[in-house]
């Protein structure tokens, strides 16, 4: 089979492009190195659908951000994923910051951001009672929203799959060739053929450009890691909206934000790293973000931390996103250096990539039977989101909905089986976790992970030793009879 389009990388950029094209008359495949979609920057970021006042007017970033903000909310609704317009404040401390806020305000107006306002201390305190007493003003952007970036991306991927897109997971592109107008993209074992190729490989997109055959590719990517701490739900109401500090040359600074799941998120810092896949967290890093968060909100108490994580920004050597048709390879589109606000821009980036593909010669029209939801029969509901009547009906129809597997997040066996039976089957612990939050609560999987592993193994009809945390070498257990301690 020769696909019309192969998308490399299933982050928000690749997946939104796949969903967009799945509504058109062309055949599409997505290949992804990870065991799941949204395994790169899209998994671990601040989860803010930025309003769009940050980027300089006239840039691609500015345009795609503002349009993406609008589209993201629409798409979230279609997919039944929460995307809450909680708004954001860029908080100023004194005169020095006032100047910067004014500048950001003017940029925002030029970019077309709706309802932007600079507000004073009293109004800020009324909106955010826990804010530092030293905060004097803020730039208030009510259109900024929060969502679950991987949850939304997974939902969009399921929708794309429902509309006929083929997903090749655990498929890391290592080589490619080009003959007769067709690209042959391989992971060393399997090859996918396509007429058009979109490179959305995130922090590895410059490497993938070279794998595809670019010479002297102009973009160089410096991976920059950002660390976060997630606080317990008891802290989730400490902030009503996303709180930023005035950005400096080092980045947007440490923010404090509620999450859609009701936790409080603090972070990120920004450090250049060598290994683009190194998502560890460090003690100095966690201390740094704690200090940063305390500056905004003195009542933050890290004893309520439940976990920490980090994500890696694909920072390019230019100011803007590099989203272009290849000059050397006909039919190839690159989406490189898509750093923040790359998530917020996702749906607009997808439209733009489709335009570039058309420019390169791809022809399509709208499909009349596009399904905008995750499954042909709509968006499945998690047990905990059901009403009491729906809960009872679900259990009557399928008793596995009456069996709670993850007690911290109230995830039932029915939810887990549902994720296993989805168009992108959730066969690892982390895939399950990102679809229903099993293992993500207070006990961090202490109770449910052995049970989830057993359900996956039984459904897939293999032993527990075949279930991994997130593919590759992330094995969890070995059968008891194998000899241990053999290294000594």
């Amino acid at each position: 089979m020769i696909y019309d389009v192969l998308i490399i990388g299933a982050g928000v950029t690749g997946v939104m492009t796949a969903r967009y094209l799945s509504g058109k008359t062309c055949s599409v495949a997505v290949c992804e190195a990870g065991c799941d979609v949204a395994m790169g920057a899209t998994r671990a970021n601040s989860a803010i659908v930025h309003a769009g006042y940050d980027a300089k007017p006239g840039t691609l970033k500015a345009r795609l951000n503002v349009r993406g903000n609008k589209l993201m909310k629409e798409i979230a609704k279609e997919l039944g994923v929460e995307c809450k317009a909680v708004g954001s404040h860029v908080v100023g401390f004194g005169e020095e910051d006032a100047k910067h806020l004014k500048e950001l305000y003017e940029r925002g107006i030029a970019n077309g951001v709706p309802d932007l306002r600079i507000i004073g201390q009293d109004e800020l305190r009324a909106m955010e009672p826990n804010i530092s007493a030293e905060a004097t003003m803020s730039l208030w952007a009510p259109s900024a929203a929060i969502t679950c970036p991987y949850g939304l991306t997974i939902a969009a991927a399921e929708c794309a799959a429902t509309n006929g897109v083929d997903f090749y997971l655990n498929f890391k592109v290592t080589d490619s060739s080009h003959a007769g107008g067709i690209y042959y993209i391989t992971n060393g074992q399997q090859t996918i053929a396509a007429r058009y190729v979109v490179n959305c490989a995130g922090v590895h997109s410059a490497e993938v450009a070279e794998i595809l055959g670019e010479h002297d590719f102009p973009i160089y990517i410096q991976p920059r890691r950002g660390e976060y701490i997630v606080m317990d739900k008891t802290c989730g109401k400490m902030a009503n909206s996303t709180l930023f500090v005035v950005p400096s040359s080092k980045g947007k600074g440490i923010l404090v934000s509620p999450t859609v799941d009701g936790n409080l998120l603090i972070g990120p810092n920004a450090y250049a790293i060598d290994d683009a896949d190194d998502t560890q967290t460090t003690q100095p890093g966690l201390s740094e973000i704690t200090e940063g968060a305390l500056r905004l909100m003195p009542c933050v108490d890290t004893r309520n931390a439940i976990t920490s994580f980090s994500g890696v920004r694909p920072t390019p050597n230019i100011y803007d996103f590099y989203i272009k048709n290849s000059e050397q390879l006909p039919g190839v589109v690159h989406a490189v250096g898509v750093e923040s606000p790359g998530f917020a821009s996702g749906p607009a980036t997808a439209e733009y990539i489709a335009e570039l593909l058309t420019d390169a010669g791809l022809q399509f029209t709208d499909k009349d039977n596009f399904i905008p939801t995750r499954r042909a029969d709509g968006n499945p509901k998690l047990f905990r989101d059901m009403t009491d009547e729906e809960k009872n009906a679900a259990i009557r129809e399928n008793p596995s909905y009456g069996k709670i597997i993850c007690r911290c997040e109230t995830v039932t066996e029915g939810d887990i089986l549902n994720a296993l039976n989805s168009p992108i089957p959730a066969v690892t612990l982390d895939m399950q976790k990102s679809r229903n939050r099993s293992g993500m609560g207070r006990c961090q999987g202490g109770f449910c992970s052995p049970r989830v592993v057993a359900i996956i193994a039984e459904h897939e009809n293999y032993g527990l030793e075949n279930v991994t945390k997130r593919g590759g070498g992330s094995w969890l257990v070995v059968p008891k009879n194998t000899k241990g301690g053999d290294k000594e």
């Binding site: 976990t307 007690r407 590759g472 070995v478």
Partner: protein, 425 residues
């Protein structure tokens, strides 16, 4: 639906409480025990080693055997245990909502509720151990479940952080199953585990125990590949230069247990920050009338024998309240912690007009002390009770009893507080 008594949790605490309620006159049909697992017994079902029941039954039983005794007693008492029934919420007017495959989503009210949900293990997040997030980091209890109930090993080369009893027991279990346990490291200068477990689980297997040590880094992307351990100073901060890196595939955490009090909080029951459990009086009644708590949900016990004892108190008190046999309190005394005492159970004593029996106060000390006197003093500094001990440790529960006469005297003097403390001799 309505029941006179709902017991949440079918572990040793819940079972003992229900049995005691029947022994004290409540009819078994009026009692509902809700257990989320497919069988009763609680955490004991995965503790297949011996060492349970020495106090209660005078013999060494395994966890499942100990649980079995109580399951039998419950059956003999005519009680039914509803399994696969997970309680999702509790209100302050004692409405319990639970879900199960058999009954669906049900709300049931009660005259009294006994909370016996046990505890959960502290996890890596609560400790904020930095590093990457590979597979191969398990709490000791999760590992125990894989090994003892699923028949799988969570790894082959293991470092254990924390010297709580479950960690110590898993060090032995993993070794017996063929894994290499490289070391157990403990942040504090002493172990939180029982002395007998240190001997039987570590020393007998030549597993080193490093006190005042912690994990500073975890290496590996997909699976744990190394764990770095460092010594800590008196403020429990790692001392640079003391790091040692172990080549291993597994990190087990045995860093403490936290009472499972989400339902309790949801009902608005006040929680003691020191125990992480509800504030209770000597009947284990919380600050909400008719809601009781016992077992590990109230405070973490080291021995299940004491869980059973405490649960019997709660079960009896609930039965008496339902049957209208509770003598009203004429005076309340709050129990304070003094030098060297971390917490006490109960935190409050409600004294009736004619106190009929002594009240036993359980407590934990803050540190290891040699040659001490344990005391209870009243508000005026009079020593009511004292007991000398050659040594005390945070890992072992202590107790002192207040006699009927002392209780009467406290009520007569309208004494507001008493203090449990420790004096070095």
């Amino acid at each position: 639906m309505h029941k006179k008594l709902i017991v949440i949790g079918g572990g040793p605490a819940g079972l003992a409480a229900a049995v005691s309620a029947v022994e004290n006159g409540l009819s078994p049909e009026d009692i509902c025990i809700l257990e989320r697992d497919s069988e009763p017994g609680g955490i004991l079902n995965q503790c297949i080693h011996a060492g349970f029941g020495l106090h209660r039954f005078g013999e060494e039983l395994t966890g499942p055997e100990y649980a079995g005794r109580y399951i039998e007693m419950a059956k003999a008492a005519g009680l039914t245990i509803t399994v696969n029934a997970m309680v999702l919420s509790l209100t302050d007017d004692k409405k319990v909502t639970y879900v199960s495959p058999e009954t669906g989503y049900v709300t049931c009210s009660a005259d009294a509720v006994i909370l016996a949900m046990g505890c959960r293990e502290r996890t890596r997040g609560a400790l904020n151990i930095p590093g990457s997030r590979p597979a191969g980091i398990f709490t000791a209890g999760t590992a125990q479940r894989y090994v003892n109930m699923e028949g799988y090993m969570p790894g082959k080369r293991v470092v254990i952080l924390g010297s709580g009893d479950i960690g110590l027991i898993m060090a032995r279990r993993m070794t017996l199953e063929g894994a290499k346990v490289l070391c157990v490291c403990e942040l504090m200068p002493y172990s939180g585990g029982l002395a007998r477990n240190i001997v039987q689980c570590l020393e007998d297997f030549d597993i080193p125990l490093y006190l005042s040590h912690t994990v500073t880094a975890i290496g590996g992307k997909d699976r744990v590949e190394s764990v770095t351990v460092a010594q800590v100073d008196e403020n429990r901060r790692p001392i640079p230069g003391t790091e040692v890196t172990y080549d291993c595939d597994t990190l087990l955490l045995s860093v403490g247990l936290i009472p499972e009090n989400e339902l309790t909080r949801g009902a608005g029951v006040a929680i003691d920050r020191m125990t992480n459990g509800a504030f209770v009086n000597q009947n284990r009644e919380t600050e909400i009338d008719g809601i009781y708590a016992c077992g590990n949900v109230l405070h973490v016990h080291d021995l299940v024998d004491f869980v059973s004892e405490e649960a019997a108190i709660a079960g009896r008190a609930a039965a008496e309240k339902i049957l209208g046999k509770t003598a009203p309190a004429v005076h309340s005394v709050s129990v304070r912690t003094g030098f060297g005492v971390r917490y006490t159970i109960p935190e409050r004593i409600d004294i009736p007009a004619e106190p009929a029996e002594e009240v036993r106060l359980f407590f934990r000390v803050t540190d290891i002390y040699k040659k001490v006197r344990l005391t209870i003093t009243d508000g005026n500094g009079n020593v009511l009770v004292k007991k000398a001990k050659s040594a005390v440790a945070p890992g072992e529960m202590e107790s002192l009893s207040l006699s009927v006469e002392s209780l009467k005297a406290l009520a007569d003097a309208k004494c507001e507080t008493i203090t449990v403390a420790l004096e070095e001799m």
